[in-house]
Subunit: 524 residues, 2 copies
C-alpha cells in the first residue's frame, strides 16, 4: 500500500492545498513539504502553502478561486471568510475550440441492451405511465400499484412500472415564453429509451396541457383506449382521459388504466437483451452533496471514465449550469466548433438572466454542506465539478429537457440547473439510460426510470453507507488506487449496470425520488 | 319537483344568460322569455338576451365580462371569439369598506375535534414526517410504509402517516427575496392542526434548508433523536439527520426513523375527540376544473355555507389571486378596514409583478376545460369564483403560506395561486383543517393531510362520478334545491366531516395528490 496523501495540490502553481487526511490535521503538524500548520484544518479544507499577500489571488486548479482580504500566513486554514469571490467571467471574448484533444478510439466494447424501434437502447425494460397534469397523480399511483400487484407477476421480463407524475400541466402560464421547458421535458421523458417506445398517457380532460400538446401530432399519433382495444397490434400509444364518461367514477378509472396497461406489458415482456455497441449508451453524470474532495477523487475518476466512454462511442451528458459558469472559458476552449461554443454561451447567458430576475446569482449554488466540506465558494466548486466531464472536445449542447437529436453523439453539455432532481429529470428527458452520481457529503438519491451508480469522494462515506455507495473513489486520496484505476473500474461498472449484470444499491432498495420539472415560467 | 331552469341570468341588467339544460339547447328553440335561439348552444355557454352593439359591454354578474367586437344578435351564442377582454382593474381608487354587511351570529353549533396544545383543533389525528429537502423523500417514503405496517396496528386511534415531501430545500436560491414563501410554507405545514403538535423532522445534513432554518429556534426547540431517546416525555419534536454517522447506511436510517416515530404515535393514540365550538374550524375553500355553472350553483351554495360558518364563529380562507383579480373592487369594498384593503391590494400587486416577470398576466389562468364549459375569459371566471367567499366582511389577509396568527378569525383572503395543489398546500400551511373543493369538469383531487369535500356544479358529473363527488350542487340548476338549501347541506356536511362522522370520498379511497410548494424564487 502506498503512503496516504495528507495534502492534495491540484496544480504546481496553486498556493493552497486540500487536507485529505481523515479527521483533518492538527495545529503544529508538519506536512509533506515541511510546512507547519498554524491551526487545525478539517478534512477537505484548504491550507496556505506559502504567504499570500492581501489582494493576491488564492489559486486552486490553477485558477483564482478568490482574492485574499488580508495577508494569509503559510500553514493557515484558508476559508471563505479570508477571501473575496471573483466576479463571474464575462461571456465575451472567450477562447473557442482552442483545446481540442483527440484521443484514440477504444474498440471492442459492447453491452447488453433492449433495442427500441427508434434505434435507441434501454438498459432497463420499464413500463411508464405518462401524465399530462398533477390532478391525475393520485389515481395513477393507485393504478400503478394495482398493475404491479395484479399484472406484473404474469410478465416477468418487465422490470417495473414507472408513473411519470409531476406538478405541471394546469394552473400554469402555459403560453409564457419559458413554458416550453417543462412541456418538452414531459414530452421527452415519455420517450426515454428505458420505456421501450411504449407510451401510455393518462389525462384528466380539462387541463391546459392537453395530450395533443404534450405529444403533438406527427411525433406519435394519438389514439384513445377504445380504439386501441379493438386493435391487436398497434404502435404503442394509449390515451386514457379520466373525465371520459365511459369510465364512470374512481373504480372505473382504475379499471380503464389497468386494462390499457396489459397490451403494453405483453409487448415489453417479449423483449430480450442483445449485444450492442456502446453507441447505445447515454450516460448522464452529476454530482451532489459535493465537498472539496469531489474535485480530487470522484470527479477526476469519473472524468477518466467519461473519456473512455466517449472514445468507445458512447454519449455522455454533463450538466449543472451554475457549476460550470465560472469555468466557461475551459468549456468554450473544448467546444468542437464555434456553433457549439455559441450555444453553450447562450445557455449560460439565459441562466444568468433567469437568476437575476429572481434576485439571485450563481453564488446561490453552494450549500452549508459544501462549505463544511471545504468548498469556499462556487468558483472552487465549479472547478471540481467540471473535471467530471473529462478532457475531450464538447460535441453538442442541449437546452434543458431537449432530447438528443438523431446523430448527436459523443460528449454533450445538457444545460440544466444543478438541483439534483431537476438535473436528473432533465437528463432523463434528454435520453439518459445510465446515471452516475458522485457525492462527498452523501445523499440517498435515486431515480425510478434510470439506474443510478453512486460514487463517494471519501472512503469514510463508503464505510458509513456500505449499502448505498456503489464505488468508493476515496481510495484515491488514500493512495490505494490511482485516478485512472478508479476511472476504469467505474467504466466497467457502467457497462455492467447497463447490461443488467449489476444492480446499483438505490435500484436494489427500490429507492428513488420524484421526478422534478424545471419550470422557469410563472404559475397562475 | 319544480320546473327545470333552461337559462340562468345572474342579474337583471345582464344581457347574456347561461344555458343550464343538460346537453345544451338546439337552434330555433324558444326559451323562457320567448327568445328564439339562432344556433345550438352547449350547456354552460352564454346566449345573448337582446341585441348587443359593437363595442357595447357584454354583461354577466352585472359586470362587463367583455366588449362586443361586432353586433351580436338576440339568441346568438356569445363566446370568447365575439368579444374583447376588459383590461385589468387598476389597483388604485378602489372602494374601501363600503359594503360591510353584518349578519346575526349563528349560535349553538359545535363539532368533535382533537384539541391541540396551541389551542387549535384537529379534524384528523395524523402523524406527520416533515422533511427539509427532497433528497430524503425516497427514504422517508419507505420509512412511512414501515411505520404503517409495523407500528400503526398498535395505535388504532391514529388516522394515518403523512410524509410532507416536496421539491424544495436544496438546489434553490435560498436567500433570494421570494424564498421566504416556500420556507414559511414548509414551516407552517408541519404545524397544521391535524398533526397534533407532534413534529418529526427528517433532514439529510448538508442541505441549504437546515432544520434550524426550517423551524427556527424560539418556535420549537430542536433536539436530535439521541437526546429524545433518553427522555420519557418531551414536547414533541424529533430530528433525524440521515448523514449522522450513528445511523450507518440505508437500513439504519429506516430503523432510526421508525424508532423515532413510536413516542409520537403513542402520544397521538392517547387523544380523543371532544366537543368544541366552531371557532376550532378553519375551512379552506377552492374551485378547480370550473365551468360556467360554478358561479351559478356550487360556488353560490358554498358562499352560503361560508356565511353560515363565519356567523357560527369558524374561520374560512378563500384564495386564488388570479381568480379574484378582476373583482378586486368587490373585495376591497368588503374589507373590514383600510389596513385589510391595503394588504389585499399589496398581494394582488405583487402577483401582477410576478406574472409580468415571466411574460404572463392573469389571462393565463383559464383552461381549455373552462372554455369548453362556457367560461369565456378570466373576468367571467373570477366573478363566478369570488361568489364562494360569501357576502360578509373580509377580516384579514394572509400572504402565501402564512399561518393564521392568534386571534385572526372570521373570513380571510389567503393570497395563493389558483393552481389546485399549490392553493391547497398553502391553505394547509395557513392552518386549514377542512377543505371544500367545487368542480364543474371534475377532478379526483385529494390531500393526505386534510379531508377534502368535493362539490359538483352539474348533476351530470355527480352521476358520472358517484364515488368521488360528495355533494351535488347541480340540483340548483335543475330547480330541485335552492342555493340556501344546498348551502345548509354543505354546512352540515362540513361539520360532520370535521367531526369524523363522515369521510368524504377522496379520504375513503385514500386518494391524494402530492403537496406542491409555491416557489417564486429561482432554483440553482
Amino acid at each position: 500500500m502506498r503512503q496516504p496523501v495528507r495534502l492534495v495540490r491540484m496544480h504546481p502553481s496553486d498556493n493552497v492545498a486540500v487536507v485529505a487526511t481523515r479527521g483533518g490535521l492538527a495545529a503544529g503538524q508538519a506536512v509533506d513539504d515541511g510546512l507547519l500548520l498554524r491551526e487545525a484544518v478539517p478534512q477537505g479544507h484548504k491550507v496556505a502553502l506559502r504567504r499570500i499577500e492581501a489582494g493576491e489571488a488564492v489559486r486552486r486548479y490553477d485558477v483564482p478561486i478568490g482574492y485574499a482580504l488580508a495577508t494569509i500566513e503559510p500553514g493557515a486554514w484558508v476559508h471563505e471568510g479570508l477571501m473575496r469571490m471573483p466576479d463571474a467571467r464575462a461571456l465575451e471574448d472567450l477562447p473557442v475550440a482552442t483545446q481540442l484533444r483527440e484521443a484514440p478510439p477504444l474498440g471492442g466494447q459492447e453491452f447488453l441492451g433492449y433495442r427500441n424501434p427508434d434505434g435507441s437502447f434501454g438498459t432497463r425494460n420499464l413500463f411508464a405511465i405518462t401524465t399530462t397534469v398533477q390532478c391525475v397523480a393520485g389515481v395513477v399511483a393507485q393504478a400503478a400499484e394495482r398493475i404491479r400487484r395484479e399484472l406484473l407477476p404474469r410478465f416477468p421480463h418487465v422490470d417495473g412500472v414507472v408513473a411519470i407524475d409531476h406538478a405541471y400541466g394546469c394552473g400554469v402560464a402555459i403560453d409564457a415564453p419559458d413554458a416550453q421547458v417543462p412541456i418538452r421535458t414531459l414530452r421527452n421523458l415519455a420517450r426515454n429509451p428505458n420505456f421501450g417506445g411504449e407510451v401510455m398517457v393518462v389525462s384528466l380532460g380539462c387541463e391546459k396541457l392537453q395530450p395533443e400538446r404534450l405529444l403533438p401530432p406527427g411525433s406519435i399519433a394519438l389514439r384513445d383506449e377504445r380504439q386501441a382495444r379493438d386493435e391487436q397490434a398497434h404502435d404503442g400509444l394509449h390515451l386514457v382521459r379520466l373525465q371520459d364518461p365511459a369510465h364512470g367514477g374512481f373504480s372505473g378509472m382504475l379499471d380503464a388504466i389497468v386494462a390499457a396497461a396489459e397490451p403494453h406489458l405483453r409487448r415489453l415482456d417479449a423483449r430480450r437483451r442483445e449485444a450492442a455497441a456502446l453507441s447505445g449508451l447515454v450516460v448522464g453524470v452529476q454530482c451532489g452533496g459535493s465537498d472539496a474532495l469531489s474535485g480530487v477523487t470522484a470527479n477526476p475518476a469519473l472524468g477518466h471514465a467519461v473519456d473512455m466512454l466517449v472514445r468507445a462511442g458512447a454519449t455522455v451528458l454533463f450538466s449543472e449550469v451554475t457549476e460550470v459558469r465560472d469555468g466557461v472559458a475551459l468549456l468554450t476552449a473544448r467546444a468542437r466548433d464555434a456553433e457549439v461554443a455559441r450555444r453553450l454561451v447562450a445557455e449560460l447567458d439565459w441562466y444568468d438572466a433567469y437568476l437575476r430576475r429572481g434576485g439571485a446569482d450563481r453564488s446561490a449554488n453552494t450549500t452549508p454542506g459544501n462549505k463544511a466540506g471545504g468548498l469556499s465558494n462556487i468558483v472552487e466548486k465549479a472547478m471540481g465539478s467540471i473535471v467530471k466531464s473529462g478532457t475531450l472536445p464538447i460535441d453538442f449542447v442541449l437546452g434543458p429537457g431537449e432530447k438528443l437529436a438523431p446523430g448527436q453523439r459523443g460528449l454533450g453539455f445538457a444545460a440544466t440547473p444543478a438541483s439534483d432532481f431537476v438535473c436528473g429529470t432533465l437528463q432523463a428527458a434528454s435520453g439518459m439510460n445510465v446515471h452516475v452520481f458522485t457525492t462527498g457529503r452523501g445523499t440517498p438519491y435515486g431515480l425510478a426510470a434510470v439506474p443510478v451508480i453512486k460514487v463517494s469522494t471519501r472512503s469514510e462515506l463508503a464505510e458509513q453507507w456500505p449499502d448505498l455507495i456503489d464505488v468508493d473513489a476515496g481510495r484515491i486520496a488514500r493512495a490505494e488506487r490511482s485516478i485512472a484505476e478508479v476511472g476504469e473500474e467505474l467504466f466497467a461498472c457502467i457497462v455492467d449496470v447497463a447490461s443488467g449484470r449489476r444492480r446499483p444499491w438505490a435500484e436494489r432498495w427500490n429507492l428513488h425520488n420524484a421526478l422534478t420539472l424545471f419550470n422557469p415560467a410563472p404559475i397562475t
